[in-house]
């Protein structure tokens, strides 16, 4: 186990920049990582954190700037090189080989060999066992990786990193899908790795975790470095201010809307193992924010309401009429629309044109005698693209070439064209530049003002607090709180998102 012999930081980034075509993902990345430290990297979505990680990991090549490992300049052209140099990244969703055993996953490509190149299975096994006991993990090394919980998969990735003697470990939103106890286990492991002299980077949105675990915090905003402070010298409010860079209230032009009759009534919705007894109502003119940590089950609820997934018990009613489960077409006919969480994989067909994507949900109304032409699609879609100010060269431009913000506008256009009664929108501004963000917020407010019901799922507290008339908080598949706009604060929403239901929970009427 090598310790850094020099006084140089374990990892240092200066002036690192990266652009994808016209989109500048990273303007000025800076990071100084000392050995024996757990360093938090925080910032809003779109701040550039993920890009920094991917550059360090060797997945992307930087356009400019320097990276130094233990004081020496490095330039990684592949993930294998970065790994060799002692950098390990544990992603939110680890990629393991599902058909192979845990042991094989850890040692793939570098199994200990004996004579004739024969893999030394017993040595491999004992190494894994010692790794696991080192990390305090009890897992059968011979079981297949298929079916492992995310927490266990992460442990395997960490075991891999330790066996590679990684000196720099980067954890990208590791706690997003973990339960409380699993988080504790992860933190214990992280602390012991730090005590061994390794350097850890911890990316997270959860301030309580950041302040609990990390000794230093680096803030990024809009692709640039903002500040680095010792945790002891700062507090969450200061950090949030640096992340956001402006007063929270300015961001969200909330328009007053008249609240009308219930449009969407969800009652007792249950899908075993995923969510339980979900009940709430969205009324006309209302924006209901569905808050919670990643992994709370919110997107799953949305998909179930819209029919992409099924559910076991419960009812969904729009305008008083039941919507059949498991059929998106039934939901669409009832007046529901879903802008999904993963824009690129679920919301759009990237290799199709703006027009075709925009018209995808209204084809029935465009067709004459059952027939549709590209011209008809273009003509039907164009007004929507123009209204939402989608920046594209033409209607036939492929949607995959647009920026995140414009892509989101196309998805919105597609669903607004169906004239829905209730719009469910999952992470409305994730990965979108600031300017488009406020356009989207203004749009949602306007829609509510015009009588639409909006169910907004968001992991960004400021967004939820700024936009929602009511905040429904979920945690581990259950609703833990419903808070009106006037009473909602960062603290009580966060509290409900991280703790079990308390007695004052009201179920939405």
């Amino acid at each position: 186990m090598k310790r850094s012999q020099t006084h140089a930081p374990a990892l240092e980034l200066r002036g690192v920049a990266k652009a994808f075509g016209q989109v500048v993902a990273l303007r000025d990345g800076q990071l100084t990582l000392q050995p024996g430290s757990i360093h938090a990297l925080v910032g809003e979505n779109g701040a550039g954190k993920s890009t920094v990680v991917k550059i360090i990991a060797g997945l992307y090549r930087r356009d400019a700037g320097e990276i130094r490992l233990n004081g020496e300049l490095v330039d990684f052209t592949s993930t294998a090189e970065a790994k060799q140099a002692g950098i390990a990244v544990i992603y939110q969703e680890p990629t393991l080989f599902p058909d192979l055993s845990v042991t094989e996953n850890i040692f793939m490509g570098r199994q200990p060999v004996g004579t004739f190149g024969r893999i030394d299975r017993s040595r491999m096994r004992s190494e894994v066992e010692s790794l696991f006991s080192q990390l305090g993990v009890a897992m059968d090394p011979d079981r297949t990786a298929d079916g492992l919980s995310i927490a266990d998969q992460q442990m395997i990735e960490i075991a891999k990193a330790v066996s590679l003697d990684a000196q720099v470990l980067i954890m990208d939103e590791p706690t997003a899908a973990l339960s409380g106890v699993e988080v504790e286990r992860l933190f214990a492991v992280a602390r012991s790795l730090r005590d061994e002299g390794r350097a850890l980077v911890f990316i997270s949105h959860r301030f309580d975790e950041v302040f609990d675990l990390c000794d230093t915090i680096t803030v990024m905003r809009d692709g640039s470095y903002v500040s680095t402070t010792a945790t002891a010298d700062t507090n969450p409010e200061k950090i949030v201010a640096e992340m956001v860079g402006r007063e929270i209230t300015e961001l969200f032009p909330k328009l007053e809307a008249e609240i009308g009759a219930p449009l969407l009534e969800v009652e007792g919705l249950t899908s075993p193992g995923i969510f339980n007894d979900i009940s709430f109502t969205v009324r006309a003119g209302e924006i209901v924010g569905l808050a919670g940590l990643v992994g709370a089950g919110r997107s799953e609820v949305a998909r179930a309401i819209f029919g992409v997934d099924g559910y076991r018990t419960g009812t969904v009613k729009v305008d008083g009429k039941r919507v059949a489960p498991g059929k998106p077409t039934a939901a669409m006919r009832a007046g529901l629309a879903l802008v999904p969480e993963d824009r690129r994989k679920q919301g759009l067909v990237l290799e199709e044109s703006v027009a075709r994507n925009t018209a995808a949900a209204i084809l029935d109304s465009i067709s004459k005698l059952g027939l549709i032409t590209t011209g008809a699609e273009n003509r039907a879609a164009r007004p929507w693209s123009e209204q939402l100010e989608v920046k594209a060269n033409a209607m036939t431009t492929l949607v995959g070439t647009l920026s995140g913000g414009n892509q989101q506008k196309v998805v919105l256009a597609k669903w607004l064209a169906t004239n829905p009664k209730v719009l469910i929108i999952d992470e409305p501004t994730r990965g979108i530049d600031v300017g488009t963000k406020s356009e989207v917020h203004r749009l949602l407010s306007t829609l509510a003002q015009q009588g639409m019901g909006v169910l907004m799922i968001s992991s960004e507290l400021p967004e939820v607090l700024g936009m929602a008339d009511r905040v429904v908080v979920m945690r581990e598949g259950r609703i833990t709180a419903t808070i009106d706009r006037e009473q909602a604060t960062q603290e009580n929403v966060m509290h409900a998102a991280t703790h079990g239901a308390n007695e004052e929970t009201e179920h939405a009427a």
Binding site: P98, D99, V113, D140, L148
Partner: protein
């Protein structure tokens, strides 16, 4: 170092034992099926097993398919497929015959070597196109299957190679026995053991499984995917080439249709033997037993009163049955694993 509280899966020893049983259950269960088939056929007609011909055919007929199935299994494990093996076998068999006729002085072992290298080259063409051009193996090998067969027919013309054209020692291989087991079978089994050892005990062998299990992750890991895929196809071609040589030794008569349709039987044998068509799972042992099961069923059909032209239908039913079974089992296993995990939480 603290032994932190362990939250999720504790060693599910009973469960893992069960899992292990499931994995080896496949090979064991088709072995059992093989035994049952032999039993039933022998009960109907004792000549099936107890006549000299019957006994010999039991071992001999599947041996050639075994080689091809082993090669196919390796390719399948990497999440590819090789539909050209039948044509490679045919070409290699004809090449063998031609070499004996046109170059009578060549030692048998040299001829065999040339045929194997020839097969390896044909396999290399497939592998290069798949690995470098990133085109699905299905399409490439569909094309080479057609092209190689066409070359075979072109070369053969209306000709045919007869047993009399080939040296006696060579043909002797086809009939020789050691301790009542045909030499060809022994050769095939030796190859099987070698490939099985390689797949199980070397890094390169294990990486094939990784590539088939998740090709994207394999790339991310930095595994030499191109090299492994290329090797898999070269191996498949070489084994098909070798099978072509043994075919010539066994049958003596070779026309342009030698090996026709063998690719289907090879895929079928592998799939029945537990090799997943989507890669990452299965062993060459299973493919080998599958080859035995397939060929033995074919031979057993007429004995049980089913005319032998129903053989292809039987193969089809077996393939479909095997993949449906695998799918049902894997869904159930996956669900069980997730349930276990949730219970533990």
């Amino acid at each position: 170092m603290s032994t932190a509280q362990v939250m999720s899966t504790e060693p599910q020893n009973g469960f893992v034992r069960g899992l292990r049983k499931l994995a080896s259950a496949r090979e064991a269960s088709i072995l059992l099926a093989l035994a049952i088939v032999v039993l039933i056929a022998t009960l109907r007609n004792s000549n099936f097993l107890f006549s000299p011909d019957g006994y010999r055919d039991l071992w001999l007929t599947p041996s050639l398919l075994l080689l091809v199935a082993v090669g196919q299994a390796v390719v399948l494990i990497t999440r590819n497929v090789d539909l050209s093996v039948g044509s490679v076998l045919g070409l290699s068999a004809y090449l063998t015959g031609r070499l004996f006729i046109d170059m009578p002085g060549l030692p048998v072992i040299v001829v065999m070597l040339i045929a194997v290298v020839f097969g390896a080259l044909l396999g290399f063409v497939n592998g290069a196109l798949v690995a470098f051009a990133r085109v699905p193996a299905l399409v490439i090998t569909l094309g080479t299957m057609y092209a190689y067969r066409g070359i075979n027919v072109l070369w053969t013309g209306s000709d045919r190679i007869n047993a009399s054209d080939m040296p006696k020692e060579f043909l002797g291989l086809g009939t020789a026995q050691i301790f009542t087991i045909p030499v060809l079978t022994i050769i095939s089994v030796v190859v099987l053991i070698a490939v099985a050892w390689w797949l199980r005990n070397t890094r390169a062998g294990r990486e094939n499984y990784a590539i088939g299990s998740d090709p994207a992750a394999a790339e991310l890991y930095g595994l030499p995917v191109t090299r492994r895929v290329l090797t898999a196809f070269v191996l498949s071609g070489a084994l098909a080439g070798f099978a072509g040589v043994l075919y010539a030794a066994r049958y003596g008569t070779i026309n342009s249709q030698a090996g026709f349709g063998w690719e289907l039987d090879a895929v079928g044998a592998a799939v029945i033997g537990g090799v997943a068509i989507f890669g990452g799972v299965g062993t060459v042992w299973g493919a080998a037993i599958g080859a035995f099961l397939l060929m033995t069923i074919n031979r057993a059909l007429p004995v049980v009163g089913v005319p032998d032209f129903w053989q292809r239908a039987v193969v089809g039913v077996l393939i479909i049955g095997a993949i449906v079974l695998d799918r049902v089992l894997s869904l159930r296993q996956h669900r069980k694993l997730i349930e276990e995990r949730e219970v533990a939480q």
